[in-house]
């Protein structure tokens, strides 16, 4: 199929977040291949507004009767959904999955209800969509519960950064990168560190990412204080790209005990940088990590602490994890992802 334009729709657009970077990657790739491509947003973001078009201006940019495909990134409830349902242009979905509302109900009920709304919207969108692109097999399985739509699995692209260097002059550092939210299991990491310190008193944990829940913030801050870990656990909050690279550079091991991942970009970011990986095996984590990390079937603090201590003290194991992760990360190169997207959009033409 030859599309003159493929426009993307996204609830909101931010740089440095997994979906935002994915949207920008697709736009740049399409434009580089001569296809008209814009980003329409449901919620205006001042920081990225030069790159985006507000949803209400859609008619000023979309030419009627042109051969245009709309791509909608499904991750949360958005006014985009209603607009897309009413338009006549063909629609494809990129499904990034949602956090299960039941996980958030206790912490942020209003967010949980918003996610229910997003699920309702998805059920309607699936009926209209010609096909869907899912970040992982796990997401494709989840999507199939919303209706029958042809799904392709194409991961998110992650490339090796230029001039990245791991430094070994720091104390043994466990790194987590991602949103600070209840489903990400930060509290499990904290309790694991409390146990890890019994064997490795110099170990520390850095949690890099912005928070989405004040209540959860308070809980983990209280937990850290009560366990006497304030001097060894750092919650950095949001960091820019340069700081993120420094955080990866200082990491001795990357660990995630998340209960729900649709893909897990930071897992690949760690692998591509040669950082050994310890993760709780569930949802899409198992598929993303493949055979390149220590996948734990329990996230009990004793098991996680033993795993972290083993990686931090067993140099041969750490090296093998690094090499294996690096090999695995090549499956997510932007070149491969771009090829798969061309196949999906144009049947192989780029």
């Amino acid at each position: 199929m030859r599309w003159d334009a493929i426009h993307q729709f996204v609830p909101s657009f931010a740089r440095g977040d997994a979906i935002g970077d994915h949207v920008a990657f697709i736009r740049d790739h399409l434009r580089a291949n001569g296809c008209d491509s814009e980003i329409f947003v449901g919620t205006h973001n001042e920081d990225t507004s030069p790159e985006t078009i507000d949803l209400e201006d859609i008619d000023r940019y979309v030419r009627p009767r042109a051969n245009t495909l709309f791509l909608y990134h499904v991750a949360q409830a958005s006014p985009c959904a209603q607009v897309l349902l009413e338009r006549s242009e063909p629609l494809a979905l990129i499904f990034h999955n949602f956090t299960p509302p039941e996980v958030l109900l206790q912490w942020d009920p209003s967010v949980a209800f918003e996610l229910l709304k997003a699920q309702d919207q998805l059920a309607d969108l699936v009926e209209k969509a010609s096909f869907a692109i899912c970040d992982s097999d796990f997401n494709a399985q989840v999507l199939s519960r919303f209706g029958d739509v042809h799904s392709l699995v194409i991961p998110l692209p992650v490339d090796a950064p230029k001039n990245f260097e791991l430094t070994n002059e720091h104390a043994p550092t466990v790194l987590f990168v991602g949103r600070v939210a209840p489903n990400k299991g930060i509290h499990d990491l904290i309790t694991a560190l409390a146990v890890l310190k019994q064997g490795l008193p110099e170990a520390r944990l850095r949690v890099v990412g912005s928070s989405t829940s004040d209540r959860y913030d308070k809980a983990i801050e209280g937990l850290i204080e009560n366990l006497g870990l304030s001097d060894v656990i750092t919650l950095t909050g949001w960091v820019d790209d340069a700081q993120l690279e420094r955080e990866y550079g200082q990491a001795s091991v990357f660990c995630t005990l998340s209960d729900h991942e649709g893909f897990g970009v930071p897992l690949v970011e760690a692998m591509v940088r040669g950082i050994p990986l310890v993760a709780y095996a569930n949802t899409a984590v198992t598929q993303t990590v493949g055979e390149a990390g220590l996948l734990l079937t329990s996230k009990g603090p004793a098991v996680v602490a033993s795993a972290l201590e083993r990686v931090l003290t067993d140099e041969l194991l750490a090296k093998r994890l690094c090499a294996s992760g690096h090999r695995r990360s090549s499956s997510f190169s932007s070149e491969k992802v771009a090829g798969a997207l061309d196949q999906a959009f144009f049947g192989g033409r780029s």
């Binding site: 009920p109 309790t191 937990l223 055979e291 996948l295 603090p301 033993s306 083993r310 294996s324 090999r327």
Partner: protein, 324 residues
């Protein structure tokens, strides 16, 4: 075999080794049991209890706000003609839009009313659950009536010396509860033990000793984890239900530091049976647990040096131990 396959097999073996190692360290005490015990409870403290209440209310309010639809269609336009046309269309179709929006608003009300009922019902269930949590024993009232006026507590005067030695080198405070009288506490303090009592009975206890007049469970609920140097559990093992006895032990273990010295004083089950009437023995289904059971429970928590001593008249027993 490819590198990936070889790595995968190796990593699986390592994970199995790690799980075995974690198990070994947990049971040997290398990972302190007190710490492992406390981690879950520590986080649970911070999970919001009543978050649903306001959250559902807020959500219902937002549904109500969203259910109101303004029938006045916007008439703004880039050109004056467009504005005029839109205004005219709005005037002409107003009756129609008003009819539709009224139905949508009614639908919103129909949806939010049952939601409000559901919310109220959830809150009521939450309240009842909270009350039930502390009253799992449905015979609590009958038991309380029977307990009034009968003395079934152990006599622990003759254990004073042993307890004094057991708690002599403890670092931190020693809780004695549920305290029937001040005698044991006084003798412990005379032995130099930094002990304090918790007494839930209404009987006043001399204020010269440090005694908190509150329910043992309330007191333990307010204590920080790993704050006690040791404890002597008494009273509750004589008259508490099995659930109360196990709960008291569980909380005391959580609140004790690693290495704490602990003791349980309990009536011999046979003595208990002889002292009570058939009605009381039937209805007070707590029944003191055997010393073997207390020893088992303590050893299961990794306690060491578990010793059992019997009073000279064999009416009650003392179990002492040290936590890892």
């Amino acid at each position: 075999m490819s590198d990936s396959e070889s790595d995968a097999n190796y990593f699986k073996e390592v994970v199995a080794e790690i799980e075995a190692e974690a198990q070994r360290r947990s049971s040997s005490g290398e990972y302190p049991r007190a710490l492992l015990r406390s981690l879950d409870e520590e986080f649970r403290r911070w999970i919001p209890d009543a978050s649903l209440e306001n959250g559902v209310e807020d959500t219902i309010r937002s549904i109500e706000a969203a259910a109101y639809v303004d029938p006045a269609v916007p008439t703004s336009s880039k050109s004056p003609l467009g504005r005029c046309v839109k205004w005219a269309v709005r005037r002409l179709t107003y009756f129609y839009h008003r009819h539709v929006t009224q139905q949508i608003t009614a639908l919103g009300i129909h949806i939010t009313r049952p939601l409000r009922l559901l919310d109220a019902s959830l809150k009521s269930v939450n309240r009842r659950l909270s009350a039930l949590e502390d009253r799992l024993d449905v015979d609590a009232a009958a038991r309380s009536e029977l307990l009034v006026g009968i003395s079934i507590s152990s006599s622990f005067d003759e254990f004073s010396e042993v307890l004094g030695q057991h708690f002599n080198h403890v670092s931190g405070r020693v809780l004695v509860g549920d305290l029937p009288n001040a005698q044991l506490l006084k003798s412990l303090r005379n032995e130099g033990v930094d002990a304090y009592g918790v007494a839930s009975s209404d009987t006043p206890i001399q204020e010269t000793v440090d005694v908190r007049h509150e329910h043992l469970f309330d007191h333990l609920g307010d204590l920080a984890n790993q704050s006690l140097g040791g404890f002597i559990l008494c009273g509750i093992p004589d008259y508490g239900s099995v659930n109360e006895q196990l709960r008291a032990l569980r909380l005391l273990l959580l609140r004790s530091k690693p290495g704490a010295s602990v003791a349980v004083i309990v009536l011999h089950p046979e003595t208990w049976r002889k002292r009570l009437s058939p009605v009381a023995t039937d209805l007070l289904h707590g029944r003191p647990m055997h010393t073997e059971t207390w020893s088992y429970l303590l050893s299961r928590e990794g306690a060491s040096n578990i010793r059992v001593a019997e009073s000279s008249d064999s009416s009650c027993c003392l179990i002492t131990a040290s936590l890892l």
